[in-house]
């Protein structure tokens, strides 16, 4: 079910402000692609345009094409709601629904898609998704408890379980570990390794070691200065980016000589 993503000539705006300019890239299926770059370079904005979350902000819009499995996401006839069901997302800070139990949190997306779900089928989905998110053993005895009662790392894995419960084709992760401690981070990274056999994963990260650890390909975004649009500088296999990048700017950023 994993699909590759083709992005061509993508410009992303907030109102009149051009935030990201002419991105062209192909994100391969069943692999992890990391987006790195300095703050404000537009990597999160780009990520959010992949499931049309970008336009949830008033005035935000996109020019250009994003094609997932032959389907152009920004065609006039395409419903953004359908896109988001196909392209799941995990956010920077864990955000389980505060009024719902662990069980209900996992099912939240499914309940939207398919109102009537037999109890046995629902149980199966919950178990499968929580196992998929490496959380099952920790929570199986307290599925009825509120999701907010878990630790930060567990909450984030709950959010991943919630995202994969609807069986999306692509999973977007916006700095999923930035609010977590190293142990939880390592648990999430292990999980990303397992998930890539089934999903196309795009992850934004500020942590270059993390990009090197989890991804097959890395895309480096940069910004010429405040008020200028962010640009894709280079996209290459992660090994190459972190050893012999094509662009001097990439090398400068990776080696810490930012400029």
């Amino acid at each position: 079910m994993a699909k590759s993503i083709d992005v061509s000539d993508l410009d992303i705006y907030y109102g009149d402000f051009l935030a990201v300019e002419s991105v062209n890239m192909t994100i391969p299926a069943r692999s992890v692609t990391a987006l790195i770059g300095p703050s404000g370079c537009g990597k999160s904005t780009f990520l959010r345009s992949l499931n049309r979350m970008h336009e949830a902000i008033p005035g935000a819009r996109v020019d250009g094409k994003i094609i997932v499995d032959g389907q152009s996401l920004y065609d006039p006839g395409v419903d953004p709601v359908e896109v988001r069901r196909m392209v799941g997302m995990v956010f920077q800070r864990p955000n389980p629904f505060p009024t719902m139990s662990i069980y209900e949190n996992v099912l939240a997306g499914l309940r939207l898609n398919n109102k009537k779900l037999k109890k046995s089928a629902a149980d199966q989905v919950v178990e499968k998704s929580l196992k998929g998110a490496n959380l099952w053993n920790e929570v199986k005895d307290r599925l009825g408890k509120p999701g907010m009662g878990l630790s930060g790392g567990q909450q984030q894995r709950l959010c991943i379980a919630r995202a994969i419960a609807v069986e999306p084709q692509v999973l977007l992760m916006d700095e999923p570990c930035s609010a977590l401690d190293p142990i939880s981070t390592s648990a999430i990274e292990d999980l990303i390794h397992e998930l890539k056999s089934e999903y196309t994963i795009v992850i934004v990260t500020h942590n270059m070691q993390q990009a090197a650890r989890v991804s097959e390909d890395t895309a480096f975004f940069n910004i010429a200065g405040t008020g200028k649009p962010g640009k894709l500088i280079e996209m290459n296999p992660t090994k190459k980016i972190f050893s012999v990048p094509d662009e001097p700017a990439t090398e400068a950023y990776i080696s810490g000589r930012f400029g």
Binding site: M89, F97, P98, A108, K145
Partner: protein, 314 residues
């Protein structure tokens, strides 16, 4: 043997001037509310308790005891207020939601402003409008309801020809409590964490599903508070009801006839001027009943909200 110097007094963290003043001010404000509330209660009790046991002529013509006197009024008060809340609450939530989540900013801001302006209209004006415009317009509607839905007890009729019924009073009250419910729920809807809303959207929720999944659960206790404030205002509202409602005396759920009781507050307003001391005591006693009922309603609401919050807490 050397003398040890006296142990210094236990060091206390230095309290700054600003903190002390602010703490004093806020404590004072909190106490002031309690004192005012207690003062109102004491006044009502001292002045009103003699009203509980006046000679039966003071409760005439409809009753001979205080209970018999106050029961229809209490019923009228609650009925009018409940009608108002039933009409106003869904409408207010809808308006608040449009302003906070649906309308573009260029429409939402003026709309919010207009709704707030409604709160500035004096209740006498609402009363005049109720008598002169609304009551006349709805009277034919009541005829229609009687003819077509007369089998429902609410519309059993005979319909009032003037339109000055408890339902009309309820509609006027609804418009009066609309701004406060709208303003409070709007504020709370707008405070729903963006993170939760985006979580719902990213799962493929439509806008309405997002509202149901994140905004309402987050805002629930605030919505109850908003309704309670509206209900409190409707229970105590005087002029509009006194002007609009042409009161009969019976306890009935028949909303479109002219046989409904007045509300406590409007009854006080209508009778206070010509009252003898005994009659005034009776009226103040009804005020005491209203005070207690309002208090109980608020308490019940707090308890309900608190219960649902406790259930979700670990």
């Amino acid at each position: 043997m050397t003398t040890t110097p006296a142990a210094p007094p236990a060091a206390r963290p230095k309290r700054r001037q600003g903190d002390r003043i602010f703490a004093g001010l806020s404590r004072g404000a909190g106490l002031f509310i309690l004192v005012a509330l207690a003062g109102v209660f004491v006044f009502l009790a001292i002045e009103g308790i003699p009203g509980l046991t006046q000679p039966s002529s003071f409760y005439a013509p409809q009753a001979s005891t205080f209970i018999g006197y106050v029961t229809p009024l209490l019923f009228g008060t609650i009925l009018a207020a409940v009608i108002a809340v039933i009409i106003a609450a869904p409408l207010s939530f809808g308006i608040a939601l449009v302003i906070s989540h649906y309308a573009p900013r260029s429409i939402a801001v003026p709309a919010a402003y207009v709704v707030d302006l409604l709160a500035a209209v004096p209740s006498v004006v609402f009363g005049l409008w109720g008598i002169n415009v609304l009551a006349r317009k709805v009277a034919p509607g009541y005829e229609w309801l009687y003819e077509h839905l007369g089998f429902i007890p609410f519309f059993a009729g005979p319909p009032s020809t003037t339109g000055r019924t408890i339902l009309t009073a309820g509609i006027v009250l609804a418009i009066m409590i609309l701004p406060i419910i709208t303003a409070i729920s709007r504020e709370i809807f707008a405070q729903t964490p963006r993170l939760h809303q985006e979580a719902a959207l990213a799962l493929g929720a439509t806008r309405w599903e997002m509202v149901r999944l994140t905004v309402f659960p987050y805002a629930k206790s605030g919505m109850v508070s908003a309704v309670m404030l509206g209900l409190g205002r409707a229970l105590g509202e005087t002029m509009a009801v006194a002007m609009v409602l042409s009161a009969g005396g019976g306890i009935t759920f028949n909303l479109i006839s002219s046989s409904n009781p007045a509300s406590i507050a409007s009854n006080i307003a209508n009778n206070y001027k010509e009252g003898t001391p005994g009659k005034v005591a009776v009226l103040i006693a009804t005020g005491l009943v209203l005070f207690l009922v309002t208090f109980l309603v608020n308490f019940a609401a707090r308890w309900l909200v608190g219960r649902s919050e406790r259930r979700m807490a670990r």
